[in-house]
Amino acid sequence: MSLVRMKCNECIPERDKHMYVTGEEPVIPSCNIATLPGDMTERGCAFAGARGVIGGPITDIIAMVHSPVGCAWYTWGTRRHLSDQYAWATKDRLTNVAFNRRFCVTSDMQEKDVVFGGMKKLERACLEAIRLFPEAKGLIIFTTCTTGLIGDDVQAVARKVEKETGILVFAAQSPGCSGVSQSKGHHDFNTQFYRQVTELRERRPELKMREEEKTPYDVCLVGEYNMDWDLKVTRPLFEQLGLRIVSVFSGNERIENLVKMPDVKLNIVHCQRSAEYIAEMEKEGNGVPFIRCSLYGIHQTSKALREAARFFGLEERAEQIITGEMARIEKSIAFYREKLQGKKVAIYVGGPRVWHWIKLMEELGMTVVAGLCTFAHADDYEKINAKAGKGMLVIDAPNEFEIEEMLLDTKPDLFLCGMKEKHLGRKLGVPTVNSHSYEKGPYAGFAGMVNFARDLYQGIYAPVWKFQWGLNGGGETTDAAE
């Protein structure tokens, strides 16, 4: 066991317990605890987890953000959770982007709403939005710090609006300050959605899947958000296997299909941080078993297919699919592996992708020298420890200063990170690849891995990195010395 201290934390030793280097004995760092104020954290808020991560990808709902304008504006069309359902822009033309990312809908609270309560305004806003958007099959009200603090009873508003309009109305109550990170919002959405769907199915049994519609191969993909069209490469794999994907929680999914989640035979859980909660509840409440999987990299995607196949006794077909896919990508992967062999990467993501990607990087001949997680829990670190080699630096809820020190100390050839950190990496001369919304995805599955490898390759081999050392090639000092 080796906990480490970074230089930048000499004056805030509270951070020490959040970082370690993998070794003989597995360490679980302090995690999922309060952020130190002013430490320059990269974490977001619980609302972001509920609205951005899970609510955002649903294709045909109105996402009503009950807040002053900012919380809504920042979540408008940002994350690249794509979908294929479009509204009409004009008589003969569809909108430029799909419905779930085209409109930003908010109650835009003003001072008087804050003082006197925002429920009336919210109710009016919901009714108007439903009239404005006949495209929508449902509406989800998201609360924020403001509406959490003033204590608006949005559940009551939701019930009222549903009664009045007949449209499915849900509430996702996850004010930004209610947890320590986005993770709280994932959890809130999972539990509240499960509960509301259960009640809804009791209230309106016609929304359940009819018995005659069911097949023995009905599954649900849980924790898959269709980043940059990941589903276009992963979904066919399961379908070729003979499975019917009834619903995806929640990438490119219609609300009516999400209501049918309890009707499937198996849940296949991809993101096990943000969505395993609902799989657990489905198991407990409705007896739907689940398997965990990773759909990144050759080994893990194959394993996922094999395990899903085993559950349904379709092993042979799984092998055929894997062989076919491998033949398709082998040569390309070999090319990139040759180029990437021996390179070092640092990965900074929400949490799960660190362990999702360790194996994938190895498949490309690379080593992960550092893994950083914004909102991981103990089980994520267990998974990281199980997959990581020795000597990998792990940091929980890293802040900007630690990221810089990590980059300078571990000297990765490439830094996989998010939008905020990538420019920091570049300023330090370290190439980066956007690991949240991807550079040019999809990255999942077999075919997606080629895209991923290509973007890693482009990162490292971009000509620009040769020029960064100044006129005389030695950095600032040489230039100035004349």
């Binding site: 294929d84 069209w229 300023k427």
Partner: protein, 491 residues
């Protein structure tokens, strides 16, 4: 193995065959009674964002300046994300990380600890504390909290080091205004807290640019240089938000440039303050005028001929210096460009959206081109927007009757545009991309935010030279769209 030998380099979208499904079988008109923003409670596609963003923007323009956001993490992280998207630069901004306990007991502890943690590691020279909706609702007594934070700092790093950090409070509850107002409030907060009268005048001119891009600020500095005027630019984001890739960088990363606290102090001794955006920065200029008698010149943003003329005239007058030949040449080049292009711009119908000062100044410029504005949407509600537009129309002898949206949302704007029989061009920020694409007309990008294209933050639309860039953009967009054939061979 060579790249050309591999069968697939990756799977581009066209190989993915994404089928588009329609939500409804066919197009249906949106209910007419709900189109005007004023007629509904719901806001669809807001044209503005929240107040703290403007205050953080301002603080990012200070040398060794770090914003500290008194609120939960989202309000900060989202803004950092937005800045990174727009400027392609890191944005170091601290948060008080309100969790549930802060919501119950208030954010005093978060502020005291947060400032401490920030200062001991980063040693900033200035901290701009931006409040949020939550801290304002909780009712944190910020003045007393800041005092306590300062006391804690002194205890820890000594009086001298602690007092070297200027802490400025900016109250920015979003439910009371937009990002534009946040910047405006910051302009006042910084001069109010820091500016001090010294023994003699400094013969400088204060410039408060407003929410202009690094390229614009560089162009303003170019104009000052040629006029021979020394300026103090308050919130000079030109270097922090457009920094070179030139390692070794300082550790931790410290963006170059920015206005120093000393410069802000000295603003009380200047000849005048020129606020280039009446809605974003006027408050600071007025304060300096009231308190220190520093003359405030608040005019439209220097876009186009007359906009820049006003600025140059003002500058020449307050500095008592003549306009040099080379600037008159620059002006002449812009006028020459207008002469070379009006056949393609006159009578073209244009819609403009964005922050009020962007809409006002760009409208003035398109009238100089003989274009016809048909819809003008200002992001943030303003008492003066409509009146200023009327003045601009009068000056440009424009008699049309465009839709004017003062603080309404983009849904209203877009529905109006879709019903027009003809529209040639939209001018505005990235939030208008979908609208322009759906109408199949070009979008000329100006203002904040622009995140879907590269380079706009680096170039200028202000000044005579910036005018030429914007004019070229407008003309070329129209040509590309309306003359796809070879008729442009004799332009």
């Amino acid at each position: 193995m060579r790249l050309s030998e591999i069968p697939v380099e990756g799977i581009p979208y066209d190989q993915l065959k994404i089928e588009k499904y329609t939500c409804t079988p066919e197009y249906a008109e949106r209910p007419a009674d709900l189109i005007p923003s004023g007629a509904r409670a719901v806001v669809v596609n807001p044209n503005r964002t929240c107040m703290p963003l403007g205050a953080m923007w301002a603080t990012m323009g200070l040398h060794k300046g770090i914003p500290f956001v008194q609120g939960a993490q989202g309000c900060t992280t989202y803004v950092r994300y937005t800045f990174s998207r727009v400027f392609k630069e890191p944005a170091t901004i601290a948060t008080a990380s309100f969790h549930e306990d802060a919501a119950v007991f208030g954010g005093r502890r978060n502020l005291i600890e947060g400032i401490r943690n920030l200062v001991v590691r980063y040693r900033p020279e200035v901290i701009g504390i931006c409040t949020t909706c939550s801290s304002e609702i909780i009712g944190d007594d910020m003045v007393s909290n800041i005092k306590a934070a300062k006391a804690k700092l002194r205890e820890e790093i000594g009086r001298e080091a602690a007092d070297a950090v200027d802490i400025v409070l900016i109250n920015t509850p979003s439910f009371a205004g937009s990002h534009v107002e946040g910047y405006d409030r910051a302009s006042r907060a910084f001069v109010e807290t820091l500016a001090t009268r010294q023994t003699g005048p400094n013969h400088k001119v204060n410039i408060i640019p407003g929410l202009l891009y690094p390229g614009d600020i560089r162009e303003i500095k170019h104009l000052l240089r040629h006029m021979g005027v020394e300026g103090i630019t308050l919130f000079d984001i030109s270097d922090p938000f457009d920094a070179p890739l030139r390692p070794p960088q300082k550790f931790p990363y410290e963006p170059p440039g920015g206005t120093t606290a000393t410069e802000i102090r000295d603003m009380a001794n200047s000849l005048a303050t020129m606020a280039l955006q009446p809605h974003a920065g006027q408050a600071g200029a007025r304060y300096l005028e009231r308190k220190y008698g520093v003359r405030a010149l608040v005019g439209q943003t220097p876009v186009g001929v007359q906009g820049t003329d006003d600025f140059i005239r003002g500058l020449s007058e307050v500095a008592g210096l003549p306009v040099p030949e080379d600037l008159l040449d620059e002006r002449g080049r812009l006028v020459d460009s207008l002469a070379d292009t009006f056949h393609h711009t006159m009578m073209k119908k244009v819609a403009v959206m964005g922050d009020p000062d962007v809409v006002l100044s760009v409208t003035r410029f398109v009238l100089e081109m003989g274009m016809e504005p048909v819809a003008l949407a200002g992001s943030s509600v303003s008492k003066t927007f409509v009146h200023s537009l009327r003045e601009i129309f009068e000056e440009g002898e424009f008699t049309g009757d465009p839709l004017v949206i003062n603080g309404g949302d983009l849904f209203e704007f877009e529905e109006y545009l879709k019903k027009l029989s003809r529209l040639d061009l939209v001018i505005g920020n990235s939030k208008a991309v979908d609208i322009a694409k759906e109408l199949q007309i070009p979008l000329v990008r100006v203002g904040f935010p622009i995140y879907d294209r590269f380079g706009y933050q680096k170039r200028a639309i202000v000044g005579y030279r910036g005018g030429e860039i914007l004019l070229a953009d407008i003309v070329n967009s129209i040509l590309g769209y309306q003359y796809p054939d070879d008729r442009t061979h004799q332009l």
